[in-house]
Structures are given as structure tokens and as C-alpha cells.
């Protein structure tokens, strides 16, 4: 079979290995690899598995901290939240598969990220998703939205993990390449966290979960066509997710974890059996021998090549303590999952595969990992974006602007989306999408604690200035957690960029990472896990650079959780932070003036820190009724969010010197809108003086209109515009659900 295939330059190229990379392989082996070995190396050294373009830059992230139990490098990051509880979380992209087949692509994205989290011993307790679609008018957008949303819900709802938050943007830059980033947060005990290092020799390797089929075998159409005449039949296929199997896999793995039988455990993600077995062996410094005939198979006559490269979903690999095999198998049998012992650890340091009585692969493991290519790709700085002088913009009726902004696709209510997600299963969700909070809040079972979780990125800013945009994404994430009453602890991230072989794209990646790192350091907000998705482009045009930040914070006492749905008639509205009226790269500039690419708002991390600490203190002292961070659309849009969530009218006073558009819609950073009982104003004022924080009275909660100076609109009229857009947009496809 595969051994007979001659390794030509063409085959090497089709596997995505360049000549130097192939030479390294030759040297390590001291002979020509066979097709299986070539396939295995090609996936191990792919961008996706090896992070060859980003690795040296990712090293710039701060990844440690008092609360960090495990940073990047394992399946997910682990933080300590006290009382023996640990939180395990990660975000991952499933962009390409979701563009090809939105339902299954998004569904398997959710499934994959959950496995990364429960592999480490956590029960998944929350899901989020950050979605970027093309412009609403693009012919594919509607069906992609429908498919992706249905896929996310279809998977998460069935598994029974609440989908509690996320974001959705539309931009022509994603027309040919949507982004689907899924995040999962899980809960574990600090003394029972599971890692992937396979230790010991002669230990059994257990394969559990779904059977292996010919799913998602990449880059090797040609190779599989060589195997058999009915090539058409064996064409690599889209992976289909099975949440029912995932649910049982979670329960069975958690049950096995409680037995103490596990030495190491690893999910089979991208490059399935290959990367899971090699990573486990490499981390543990052992060799692995697998008998492929024992791998549970879904289809007939699968070759070694196909089995090793298959990306079938819902599978795990486990190294067991000697003597525990029977007991372990029983657990999976009870959950009606396929299970078999497919091999053992060895002292050879090699990956050896047997198939139908033949040895079909014999590769040295450590050298393969050590020699994995690592590139310092050339990059150029993004040209400095011009400043936008707010003074040159026409003055407009602020209410008219407000209506247009609140009814613009990025700002409208996403109810149509999140009503399709089960947000409350597990019974611990306090606030989720639409509950009027900047972060989702999920209680830690049987405790007074809760987690605040949010997902953030403003690609407009990153595109205009990757460094500043990277900083801003982290700062906004931090601010959202503060505004929920939480102490921000750590982030995960998903770096979505174009082709890194283009210096300008590489430049975006490098600068965004540097900006993010800077912010993470200053805010003591380390990166504990993440994912990089490159080559997001079609026909040479790259997506807007999108480094999504998934932040997790802790609320020690759940009664301190706060949001913006509790403003009351008669409250005073005060603004924390300085407003300069920054309109460059704002939603205002894009939606109203059609201006893009100007310098985004500056991010002062020391101010961010100072203002955030002040707000936290004020929340702790119970001085605030409602809090909302200011982001897209500035003060006026934040006020409207608060008004709608609290069902109250709001009056905002104009600024004495700034023009209306700059005052109401400027996107200066490090700001929060607070609604307070007037009786607390003095105390708050004193606290702000003590902390050196700028506090200004900006208006009040009153009546049932939104008033900006003398202009006004009924809150209910505005709300209708805000709620209407999405269902109207989706209506056409809505009827298509039968698909």
C-alpha cells in the first residue's frame, strides 16, 4: 500500500513541506521516509501544529502569575481561584471548516474546544463564541450566519453546557473568510488536574470515543487517491460532530479521572492520532508503539496513512497506570463508547506503527519536535495611520446619529442569535447575553464565588494600528470584567490573521502580539492559553487582523456581581475617565462619515489600571447601582444600553467645549459609565480624589426618553430599531431552516 508510493518532489510539495524542511527529515531518518512518515511529519510541522511562524513572537506574552497553575503549552490554561478550585479555559478558531460547511464547522469547533478543557480534568461550565462575518449584503453572509449559529447551538445545547456570551461583527473584510472562535471554560480541583506527558514504559494506551473514519484528511487528496480505484468514495470529507458522543465522553472521562488510573490524557484534535500520540510521548520522553489494527474504525480498508491523519471528532488517547486496564475499559463500555488498548509506551523514543503485520512507520520523536521549523519571518511595521480631526467633521443631530448607530449591524441586538443557545443549563448562569452586563457571570457551584467571562476585539483598531489595537483588545477585556464586579485573572486568545509569508501581515501579527503583551504585563493579566489561525485570506486579500481576547475574572462574593440593568429612576450618571472625543476608527467614523483607517484611540495602561481599580473599589463599597464600560459608540451608546437593559429613560448633558459627535460618540479608552444613588455621590467623589481618577457628572436617569441635550427619542422607539435589524435580516434564510 502506502509503502509502495514513491516520494517525489511533487508529493513532498503537496504535503506542504519545503525542500529545507524535507532535508531535515531526511537527515533525522537517515533514509527516505515512506508516505506514512512523510504525512506524519507534514502535519506535525504544519503551521497549525507547530506554530512555526508565530512561536518566537508568542514567547513575548507574559504567561505566569500568582494564580497561574498552568500556562500555554498544555491543552488549556489553568488558574487558581482559591479553595482548591481551578478554572481551565481556552479559545480556538474553526474558521475554514465553518466557511466550507457552517453548521458542522462551527459545531465541531465547539466540540473541539470543550475536549481541550475536559482533557485536563475540568467539567466544562461555559461556552462563548466570537464570530466575524462578511458584510450583511454579501450573498453568502446570511446563510453562513444561520448555519454557524445553528451549529454552535446544536452542539452546545445538546452537550448541556451553557453558551453564555460572545460577539458578532460584520465587515466586508470577512466576505471570503469568516471567523468562528469558540471558547470553553471549565471547572476542576487544583489537586486533580491532568496533563499530557506519557510517563513510564510498557503502559497501555487506551483509545476511547468515536471510531476513526476518513474525516478531514488534509493536503493529501492525491495520496489517498493512489490507494484505491474508488478514489471518489474516499475523498476527504468534512468532519461531522456528534454532541451526543461528546457528552458521554465528558462523563466517562470525568468518571475515569476520579479513579486515579490515568497517567496522561490528550484529546485528538487537529492531526488526530498523530499529534496526540507524538505530543504525549514527546512530553514524557518516551516512545510509543501503536497497533493500528486495534484502532476502532468506522470504515473498511482504512490505510495507516488515513488513520494517522484522520480528524474524526470526539476521540481521546489515555495512558493508563499498569493493571487498571479492565476497570478503565468498563467505564467507557458503560457509556456505550468505543474503547480499545491500541498500544503501549516504550523506551525507544520512537513512534512505531504496526498495521496488518507490517511496521509502517518508525520515527524518532524528540528530534521531530526539536527540529520542527521555527521561522523569524520578515515583517514590516504598519504605516502610521493619519489622525482624524473631529473638528473637520460636520455637526449632525445626535439623536439621528444615535438611531443609525444602534441600528447598525455591529451594534444591534443579537437576540436572534443567543435565543438559540441554551444559556441556563447547569443552573449556574447569573448573567448571559442580554442580561445587561459586560461579561457573562457563571457561579462556581456550591460556593459564593462566580466567574466573569468575556470575549473582545475591535478589528477596526487593530487594522489601523496593530500595536494599539492589540493593547486595546486586552484593555477592553479587562475593563469588561471590572464592570461585572470581577477581578480580572487571565486571558486566552485567538490570533486570526492573513498569510504570514507577507511581511505586512506578519507585521500585523508581531505588533498586535507586542501590544497585547504590553497590556497583559501592565494589567497583571497573563495569557494562559490561546490559538493562532493564519492564512485567513481569499484571493490575496486578508481579513482584518483579529486577535480575539477571552478574559476570565473572579468574583469572590457573588453579591458583588453587577451589570448595567439596575439603573433606577432618579439615579445620577457619572463618567469615569477622560473624554477627548476620539473619533478615529470609531463606529461613528465608519457608519456615519464613511471614514475608516484613522488612528484608533490611545490606550494608557496606567490610566486603565487606575480607573479600573477605582471602579472595583466603588463596587466593593456598594456605591454603584449600575456599571457599563464604554466601547463602540462611546458614551451615548453605553447610556442607551443601560437605559434599555434597565428600562429607564436617560438624559445626557452636552459637553461645554467638545462638539456633540465627539462627546457623545468618541471612543476614548479607560472609561466607565456609572449609575448611582445621588446620596452616594460625595463618597464616590472622595474616593475618586483619593485615587486620582477623573469623575464627571454627565446626566441622570429620568423619564422614558433618551435625551441628548435638547434632542430626544422615546426609548421604546429606539429599542424597536435595535431589536428589529437582526430578525429582519435573517428572515429570508429563517424560512430555510429545513435544510
Amino acid at each position: 500500500m502506502s509503502e509502495g508510493v514513491e516520494i517525489t518532489a511533487e508529493i513532498i510539495a503537496e504535503h506542504g513541506l519545503n525542500p529545507e524542511e524535507y532535508n531535515i527529515l531526511l537527515q533525522q531518518l537517515g533514509r527516505t521516509p515512506n508516505l506514512n512518515e512523510l504525512g506524519i511529519c507534514s502535519v506535525m510541522w504544519s503551521e497549525h501544529c507547530s506554530y512555526k511562524s508565530s512561536r518566537i513572537h508568542l514567547a513575548k506574552f507574559p504567561t505566569t502569575g500568582k494564580k497561574v497553575i498552568c500556562g500555554p503549552g498544555e491543552n488549556a490554561g489553568v488558574i487558581d481561584i482559591g479553595d482548591g478550585d481551578a478554572v481551565i479555559f481556552k479559545m480556538e478558531s474553526h474558521n475554514h471548516p465553518s466557511f466550507i460547511e457552517p453548521y458542522q464547522g462551527a459545531a465541531t469547533g465547539v466540540g473541539g474546544i470543550m475536549r481541550d478543557v475536559f482533557t485536563m480534568g475540568a467539567r466544562p461550565i461555559a461556552l462563548l463564541n466570537a464570530l466575524r462575518f462578511g458584510e450583511p449584503g454579501h450573498y453568502k453572509t446570511r446563510s453562513l450566519v444561520a448555519g454557524v449559529v445553528a451549529g454552535i447551538g446544536g452542539y452546545g445545547n445538546c452537550v448541556g453546557v451553557p453558551t453564555v456570551g460572545g460577539e458578532i461583527n460584520f465587515d466586508a473584510g470577512y466576505n471570503g473568510n469568516i471567523l468562528v472562535n469558540a471558547m470553553c471554560v471549565g471547572l476542576a480541583k487544583t489537586d486533580s488536574i491532568f496533563y499530557s506527558a506519557a510517563k513510564g514504559v510498557g503502559n497501555s494506551i487506551l483509545y476511547v470515543g468515536a471510531r476513526t473514519g476518513r474525516d478531514g484528511i488534509h493536503g493529501a487528496t492525491m495520496a489517498s487517491a493512489e490507494f484505491d480505484d474508488d478514489a471518489e468514495e474516499k475523498r476527504p470529507t468534512v468532519q461531522v460532530g456528534d454532541p451526543f458522543t461528546e457528552k458521554r465522553l465528558i462523563e466517562a472521562c470525568l468518571e475515569l479521572m476520579a479513579t486515579g488510573n490515568i497517567i496522561a490524557i490528550q484529546d485528538m484534535g487537529a492531526a488526530g492520532l498523530t499529534s496526540s500520540s507524538i505530543e504525549m510521548a514527546d512530553k514524557g520522553g518516551v516512545g510509543i508503539e501503536i497497533d493500528l489494527d486495534r484502532v476502532p474504525q468506522r470504515e473498511n480498508n482504512m490505510s495507516a496513512y488515513e488513520m494517522m491523519l484522520s480528524e474524526s471528532q470526539e476521540r481521546m488517547l489515555i495512558v493508563l497506570k499498569p493493571g487498571t486496564e479492565a476497570e478503565s475499559r468498563k467505564i467507557f463500555t458503560k457509556w456505550e463508547l468505543d474503547v480499545d488498548i491500541i498500544g503501549k509506551t516504550t523506551d525507544t523514543g520512537r513512534l512505531v506503527l504496526q498495521h496488518q503485520g507490517e511496521m509502517v512507520c518508525d520515527l524518532p520523536i524528540a528530534p521531530l519536535s526539536d527540529m520542527a521549523p521555527k521561522y523569524d519571518r520578515p515583517w514590516v511595521k504598519t504605516a502610521k495611520a493619519p489622525r482624524l480631526d473631529a473638528g473637520t467633521l460636520p455637526q449632525r443631530d445626535p439623536i439621528d446619529v444615535l438611531c443609525r448607530l444602534m441600528a447598525s449591524p455591529d451594534m444591534v441586538s443579537k437576540r436572534w442569535v443567543w435565543e438559540q443557545y441554551d444559556r441556563h443549563v447547569m443552573g449556574d448562569t447569573l448573567m448571559a447575553s442580554a442580561s445587561g452586563c459586560d461579561a457573562a457571570i457563571v457561579r462556581i457551584r456550591d460556593s459564593e464565588k462566580a466567574l466573569a467571562i468575556s470575549s473582545d476585539c475591535t478589528p477596526r483598531y487593530v487594522q489601523a494600528d496593530p500595536y494599539r489595537g492589540g493593547k486595546q483588545a486586552v484593555a477592553e477585556s479587562w475593563r469588561n470584567l471590572i464592570a461585572a464586579g470581577a477581578k480580572p485573572i487571565a486571558i486566552t486568545d485567538c490570533l486570526n490573521f492573513g498569510n504570514p509569508e507577507r511581511p505586512e501581515i506578519m507585521g500585523q501579527l508581531v505588533q498586535a502580539i507586542e501590544g497585547m503583551s504590553k497590556a497583559c504585563k501592565k494589567l497583571s493579566y497573563p495569557v494562559v492559553s490561546g490559538n493562532v489561525s493564519l492564512y485567513n485570506e481569499t484571493k490575496g486579500s486578508a481579513i482584518p487582523p483579529t486577535p480575539t481576547v477571552g478574559g476570565v475574572g473572579i468574583i469572590k462574593d457573588i453579591s458583588m456581581a453587577i451589570g448595567f440593568s439596575s439603573a433606577r429612576q432618579g439615579d445620577m450618571l457619572v463618567l469615569v475617565g477622560r473624554t477627548r472625543g476620539w473619533l478615529g476608527s470609531s463606529i461613528y467614523a465608519r457608519e456615519i462619515e464613511n471614514l475608516i483607517g484613522h488612528r484608533p484611540p490611545p490606550v494608557s495602561l496606567s490610566t486603565e489600571l487606575q480607573n479600573g481599580k477605582f471602579v472595583r473599589k466603588a463596587i466593593k463599597k456598594s456605591l454603584l447601582r449600575a456599571v457599563h464600560d464604554l466601547s463602540d459608540g462611546g458614551l451615548a451608546c453605553a447610556a442607551v444600553d443601560m437605559a434599555m437593559a434597565s428600562n429607564v429613560g436617560i438624559v445626557l448633558d452636552p459637553h461645554s467645549t467638545l462638539p456633540d459627535n465627539a462627546w457623545y460618540f468618541g471612543e476614548d479608552q479607560a472609561r466607565y459609565l456609572l449609575s448611582i444613588d445621588a446620596a452616594n455621590y460625595n463618597k464616590l467623589q472622595q474616593l475618586s480624589v483619593k485615587k486620582g481618577v477623573l469623575l464627571s457628572y454627565v446626566g441622570e436617569v429620568k423619564g422614558d426618553d433618551i435625551r441628548l441635550g435638547s434632542a430626544r427619542i422615546r426609548l421604546s422607539d429606539l429599542q424597536i430599531k435595535w431589536e428589529q435589524w437582526f430578525p429582519e435580516f435573517m428572515e429570508k434564510i429563517d424560512a430555510n431552516a429545513g435544510k
Partner: protein, 80 residues
């Protein structure tokens, strides 16, 4: 041996899926579509060679599990 089972809603039972598809097809400009009904087709690979027995067994499977006879009707074909 294979069994092909068709499970369809009994006539008179309102079919929300069929309705949604009808609406969607009409919206896409297929105005000739009057009505749509959606059912299931379940293909079983079976051991054995006795068609008559298989038909009887598969019909029992339908009654027990594959169809909800309150609202659905089924048909069974056995092929090689």
C-alpha cells in the same frame, strides 16, 4: 441484505418542517411548489438472507422504535 424504511407523517398531520421548506422554496422563486412533506428514509444493513423474515422483523422495529405510529406511517422494502 438491506432494508429501506420510509417513515412519513400521516396525512392530516401538520408538518412544520415541510411548511418551512415550502415557504423557503417559494421565497427563492420556486413558485411551482404547492406543498412539501418531509419524512425519513432509514437504510438498514442486515445479516441473513430471508427476505420475508427480514420484512417481518423490520416492520416490528418500525412499530417499536423507528416510527411513532401516533403520527407516522412507514413502509418497508427489502433488497439484496
Amino acid at each position: 441484505m438491506k432494508a429501506i424504511v420510509k417513515v412519513q407523517l400521516k396525512s392530516g398531520v401538520l408538518d412544520p418542517q415541510g411548511r418551512a421548506i415550502t415557504g423557503a422554496l417559494q421565497a427563492l422563486g420556486y413558485e411551482e411548489v404547492i406543498d412539501v412533506r418531509q419524512g425519513k428514509i432509514i437504510e438498514l444493513d442486515l445479516q441473513g438472507t430471508d427476505h420475508a423474515l427480514a420484512k417481518q422483523r423490520v416492520s416490528a422495529m418500525c412499530g417499536e422504535l423507528l416510527a411513532n405510529t401516533v403520527i407516522e406511517q412507514f413502509s418497508v422494502d427489502i433488497i439484496d
